[in-house]
């Protein structure tokens, strides 16, 4: 299938981009409110997890979840890791999220807690919570039917992923 080939090459290049992005992000985030980049990594055994070390301090340097895992490719095993994000404020209170990664793939996203400004825990319903970009990238399908993005012009369409997809469809 041409579709797979086209998108496969696109995805292949993303792994490279992640590294560049993270390098750039560390600088940027020092001025931003601490969002999803400030995550802490837990051990490599199944099910273990730690909570994000205090949402207070400096958001910048500890940003990337450590060394080795700069590529999104699956590691050998079924070991599972959990990452807990720093808490982020919404107009309704603060919220935190935990993600689980198994064999290099994102397997679960759990909103941890939401507290209102009185400090009480409240029911999680539908809040947008931070999620680690690297794990989002590693979660993508190898095969999409359509591409969503902010509106392109008819000229820009020709260089868009949607155009590649449509072309692949025509020639398959």
């Amino acid at each position: 299938m041409r579709t797979r080939a086209v998108l496969g090459s696109v995805f292949g290049s993303i792994a490279v981009l992640i590294i560049g992005w993270q390098a750039g992000a560390a600088a940027l985030t020092s001025n931003q409110s601490a969002l999803s980049t400030g995550l802490s990594t837990s051990g490599t055994t199944t099910g273990s997890s730690t909570t994000g070390s205090s949402a207070s301090g400096t958001p910048s340097p500890a940003a990337t979840p450590s060394s080795g895992s700069t590529t999104a490719s699956p590691k050998s095993s079924t070991t599972s890791k959990s990452y807990t994000g720093q808490s982020v404020n919404t107009q309704f209170g603060s919220v935190q999220v935990r993600i689980s990664v198994t064999g290099g793939k994102l397997t679960d996203v759990t909103p941890l807690h939401l507290t209102d400004f009185g400090g009480r825990s409240v029911q999680i319903s539908n809040y947008a919570v931070p999620i680690l970009r690297k794990e989002v990238l590693s979660a993508q399908s190898s095969h999409v039917n359509s591409v969503g993005g902010a509106t392109y012009t008819s000229e820009a369409y020709l260089s868009s992923l949607q155009s590649a997809l449509d072309t692949a469809g025509i020639t398959s």
Partner: protein, 251 residues
């Protein structure tokens, strides 16, 4: 399955079917719907009905029912989004492009269903309305473009049954129908909203870009929609439903 590609409203549209190819007359009808909306509402056409209102040649009270209905719809969205979605340009011109494309997409989807084509995916300039499932018998899978590298994808999601609309707005979006509200910090560079219908998805994606984090919270609390945002630093946020749609697409 061969997608049907055509240009309209200054962008490109692509229509894919999950089953048998439709009769050619259905495709003609779909294109006619877009042409009709464009002819009436485009501000790029000096003699469109909306352009004539902008130039004060035509009064709103004398406008067609279609135009007044679209304007009333846009105003009701302005109300419910606390002005984050606003059909009034800063220069006073009424610009309905924030609802018109989605209304045309909705009308096209209705035409397809009436023609007994319930499995389809229509992408117009990066916004999607989809029904049923793909030719593989799976939910439609939608890749979301990376706003920092538009030749790459951020992730992909599955459109669950009933989740027919998926719209993405960006701060660098073409055209000028997004104006930031005063309280917006301009923090989000891209917002994707999945909703039961494309009009809701499109309007709310625009509102989040225009209104910033405060409106994001309003949107996720008030409407049953799934949202993914990317901020200036590249950080991503997702609602639980959007995370689930992403996980459902792992295959």
């Amino acid at each position: 399955m061969t997608p049907h590609v055509f240009t309209t409203m200054g962008t490109a549209a692509s229509l894919t079917f999950g089953e048998h190819e439709p009769h050619a007359s259905v495709l003609v009808e779909v294109e006619r719907i877009f042409a009709e909306y464009d002819k009436r509402f485009s501000l790029y056409r000096p003699f469109s009905e909306l352009s004539r209102i902008a130039s004060a040649e035509l009064a709103m009270m004398d406008a067609s029912e279609e135009l007044r209905d679209a304007y009333a719809l846009a105003l009701s969205w302005r109300e419910s989004t606390r002005n984050a979605f606003n059909p009034h340009r800063p220069d006073g011109v009424i610009d309905l492009s924030g609802v018109v494309k989605a209304l045309a997409m909705q009308a096209a989807a209705d035409v397809l269903r009436r023609a007994d084509l319930s499995n389809f995916c229509l992408n117009v300039g990066g916004d999607i309305v989809a029904g049923g499932e793909s030719a593989e018998g799976l939910p439609w899978s939608v890749g979301i473009v990376d706003p920092f590298d538009r030749s790459g994808l951020l992730t992909s999601i599955s459109l669950a049954p009933g989740r027919e609309g998926c719209a993405t707005s960006g701060s660098a979006e073409r055209g000028d129908h997004i104006w930031r509200t005063a309280e917006s910090s301009g923090e989000f560079v891209q917002a994707t909203v999945v909703a039961d219908d494309i009009v809701t998805a499109d309007v709310l994606a625009t509102a989040i870009i225009s209104g910033g984090p405060g409106i994001l919270d309003l949107v996720t609390a008030r409407w049953p929609v799934d949202v993914m945002t990317v901020d200036l630093a590249g950080a991503i946020r997702m609602t639980p439903g959007m995370s689930a749609a992403m996980l459902a697409d792992l295959r």
